[in-house]
Structures are given as structure tokens and as C-alpha cells.
Symmetry: C2
Subunit: 101 residues, 2 copies
Amino acid sequence: MIRIARLEVDSTQLDLYRTLLKEEIAASIKLEPGVLTLHAVAEKGKPHRITVFEIYADEVAYRSHLETPHFKKYKTGTQNMVRSLDLKEVEPILLGRKKKM
Amino acid sequence: MIRIARLEVDSTQLDLYRTLLKEEIAASIKLEPGVLTLHAVAEKGKPHRITVFEIYADEVAYRSHLETPHFKKYKTGTQNMVRSLDLKEVEPILLGRKKKM
């Protein structure tokens, strides 16, 4: 199960937002077997425009992720920083990557 | 170096487009040491809306990729299928993923 989240974040709170996002991603990858990939990036020259490419093992893993303490901390902590959120479910065509990076 | 390509493809040619894209990704990952990730996905319910999340080792690897026969074949073969292309360079915040998937 794959989602792409596109966010616009309040520029005046961007440093704190990035810290909270990084904490959330690190905890999810470490603690949740069903969270496979969380790639967070910022548009070059427009750092408040953020995209997160998210791969979960399945729908159950995604639902479970939403209930974790680290996700809830992120969601609550950043709710006044996020100006817009566009969340799209997508389907794989081909997920190519090097086995060793 | 990371890019996000967002494309809209002619729906009547979508099957062939997907075949050419998959060939190109498979060849790039196999043959090019500097092509680390090419994740191609289609929007659920809108399969002509395609996103490719691309990670290259560096700028040189990206430039080299554009000159390969497999990329040129893809680019030439799909030029009449792609209705729009939005290509954005982005910078990593955190690229989290499971080591084994």
C-alpha cells in the first residue's frame, strides 16, 4: 500500500516541523514492521513544500501506523504548522531500487 | 540527487506507456551504478496520472542516465504519449526505509 503526501508547511515553523517529521519517520521505521519506506523531501528553493513517499506492507500496517504514539505525537504537534495536505493513494507500476545503497 | 516526475499520459496508450516505463526502470537499476531508486506509481482511480520518485547517487549519475540507450529509447518511444510532465528537484529531509523488504 503506497501513499504520496504533499504538504505545505508554515515557513516560520519549518525547522520545528522538520524535527518532528524526522522523529516520526525514524520511530516508524524502527518500531513498525509494516512501515517499509518513508521518504520525506522538500522542493528545491521552496523548502516549505514537502512530499512524503510512503510504502506500507498492507492496509492493516497503515491503519496500525495511524494509532501509534509516535504518529499521534507528530500529528498533534504539527497540526498548527501544516497549511495544506494532499494525500493520494497510488498503485505501484514498478518499484525499482538498488538492493544495496 | 532526488527528483519527482509527475506525468499525465494519454489514456488510450497507457498499456504501452507502462511497458516502456517498466523496461526503462529495470534497465536503469540493473545497468547504472548511480541509479539508486526509481519508484513509479499511478494514482488510484486515475491510472493516467503517474509519479516517479527518482534517487541518483549524484548529478553526474543523473546526467549519465539521460545519455543511456535505454533512457533515450523510453524518451523517444513515449514522447507522443506524455500529455504533461512536471519535473521537480527536491532535497532529502529523511529517507527512511527498512533495510530488508
